[in-house]
């Protein structure tokens, strides 16, 4: 909304919204509204007020972090508007703002009204894309309004292209209308435009996230059989990642087989994904197997590979091997980062070697790698578990002085350790810090404190020493 001048804002949000119902014919509406809110010369007068930035689109998925398979199309609407005349841009942003607070039907009549009152304004593809995004993101049990917008587009001479598909799919996915997205993609593929690989992979990724595997496979098969759209390496990586996350490693290995059959050569990313699958399940042996396979294939492991490996080995209790890999990665010219060290410290703390982990912190800082709150939390928890309360307290001092956040587990362990020693007041102070630094929600912080105190009281009553 913010970009509409105040005078217009009130017009849109109050009178127009309420008066303009879709039952009133558009001509009548324009007649009603036009003389008051849109005098003929408004656009020219308003121009200086209109921000020249490319319009921003709420509810559009372009805020996603740009990963390798994210679409180029994200830059398309803005670049096309920068070239477009100011008139078009103004009308588009007005429509955009209007769309964000109204229904699809109202937006369509609003567009009609703009076209009638300003003959110089001819909507282009991006204008219709605004309507399309709106109709896709509205919760709707059917695809009727999407079809309506697409038809409107078609009658005005714009046949849907791959950007249209992309925008529709993304909006539908974000509104969690996966079934509709699949339906629409199939329909558009059969009629005019196939989705490009970015759209396709985006859809597959979202299907993986929110629907079960059989539906994803069904979609992939349908697209291959009916529209000759084959999954690529990225698609397979998404699928493998998904089955690894559901701990279904047999399926992952099958997919790797399929991948090879299809003639793709697994890259570093695929291997990292599989390795992650093993590491999360604490299967260090298999993780090393993947590492060796990479070496055999002549692929150079990257920082992520090493971090994953060290994480997995630490998790499965092979700290010695993890340390060895820390050496190897430095030799290969990778700089271990906070993640590497934190994983390793975690492993050492698990083994009860909290002092060793503390020494590693020194080593890490000496190499110029600065620890983050996760590192400190891991250490704090480790020290408490090894009953080194004084060291833990020192570390807590550092955390406080650097204004870092505490993690839930570390907070709980530390509070418990303090209470066990009878230092309840200090536990309260940690509680205050956790709340103040917004490390945890008030509720979590308080429930932890309360249950710890309850436990302490019980222990006291039963005559255990504090």
């Amino acid at each position: 909304m913010g970009k509409v001048p105040p005078s217009l804002r009130s017009a849109i949000s109050t009178s127009l919204m309420k008066k303009q119902s879709s039952l009133v014919p558009a001509s009548l509406q324009s007649h009603l509204v036009n003389p008051i809110y849109f005098p003929r010369n408004t656009p020219r007068k308003l121009h200086p007020n209109v921000p020249r930035k490319p319009r921003r689109i709420p509810n559009r998925p372009f805020s996603n972090p740009p990963t390798s398979w994210m679409p180029r199309s994200s830059s398309i609407p803005s670049s096309s508007t920068t070239k477009a005349p100011l008139d078009l841009r103004f009308h588009n942003s007005l429509l955009q703002s209007f769309a964000s607070i109204s229904t699809v039907l109202d937006s369509i009549s609003f567009l009609r009204h703009m076209m009638m009152s300003h003959p110089s304004f001819s909507p282009d593809r991006s204008t219709y894309h605004i309507l399309l995004a709106q109709s896709c993101s509205a919760p709707d049990p059917t695809l009727a309004s999407v079809h309506q917008t697409l038809n409107l587009m078609l009658t005005n001479g714009f046949s849907p292209d791959k950007f249209t598909t992309d925008i529709a799919v993304r909006s539908l996915c974000l509104a969690d209308r996966m079934e509709h997205a699949v339906e629409l993609v199939k329909e558009l593929s059969s009629k005019s435009s196939k989705p490009d690989t970015y759209t396709y992979n985006f859809l597959v990724k979202h299907l993986c996230k929110s629907r079960d595997l059989s539906m994803v496979y069904g979609f992939v098969d349908d697209m291959r059989d009916s529209f000759d759209l084959k999954p690529d390496l990225v698609t397979y990586t998404i699928l493998i990642d998904n089955v690894c996350n559901t701990k279904n490693l047999r399926e992952a290995m099958r997919l790797v087989g399929v991948l090879n059959e299809e003639g793709f050569k697994p890259d570093c990313f695929v291997y990292n994904t599989i390795m992650k699958g093993y590491c999360v399940l604490s299967r260090g042996h298999e993780a090393i197997g993947v590492y060796n396979k990479m070496k055999e294939e002549g692929l150079e492991p990257d920082l992520i590979t090493y971090n994953t490996l060290i994480f997995g080995l630490s998790k499965s209790g092979r700290v010695k091997q993890a340390r060895k890999f820390l050496g190897i990665m430095t030799e290969k010219g990778h700089f271990p980062d906070a993640v590497t060290y934190t994983s390793l410290m975690n492993g050492m703390c698990r083994e009860g070697d909290a002092l060793g982990a503390l020494a590693l912190l020194g080593e890490m800082e000496a190499r110029g790698c600065s620890p983050n709150s996760c590192t400190y939390s891991t250490l704090l928890q480790g020290l408490c578990k090894s009953r080194l309360l004084e060291k833990a307290n020192e570390l807590y001092g550092v955390i406080k002085s650097e204004d870092l956040k505490l993690e839930t587990a570390a907070y709980a362990t530390f509070v418990r350790a303090l209470c066990r020693e009878g230092r309840v007041a200090e536990a309260y102070e940690v509680f205050d810090y956790a709340v103040e630094s917004k490390s945890l929600t008030d509720v979590t912080a308080y429930t932890t404190l309360e249950s710890t105190l309850k436990w302490l009281k019980k222990a006291k009553e039963q005559g255990h020493a504090i």
Partner: protein, 100 residues
């Protein structure tokens, strides 16, 4: 591990969370202390704890003890001294479980 178990407890039992954060109509003694007619158990705990801190009511020799002043005594069963350990339990007394 404590926190995971707790998370489980909270997700398993939304009622437990509810009786911590739901606003409750207060009895008159507490109303006077808090200065408003409704507060949640969590809010009340925070209020009391910050009252203790701002008025330096912790015993200087043993920080785990609180020397109650008049006002605090009125809501904590009239005790002269309370331990910090029992503070949540004492406050909970003002928030009885609702009869089913």
């Amino acid at each position: 591990m404590l926190p995971q178990r707790m998370k489980q407890a909270i997700t398993d039992n939304p009622k437990k969370l509810a009786n911590l954060i739901d606003l409750v109509n207060l009895p008159s003694t507490l109303r006077e202390f808090v200065g408003q007619s409704q507060i949640s158990r969590l809010g009340c705990f925070m209020r009391v704890w910050s009252y203790i801190k701002t008025n330096n009511l912790q015993d200087p020799n043993n920080k785990n003890m609180v020397n109650c002043d008049e006002k605090l005594r009125s809501i904590l069963l009239g005790k002269r001294q309370v331990e910090l350990v029992e503070l949540p339990a004492l406050i909970k007394l003002h928030f009885p479980k609702e009869p089913k």
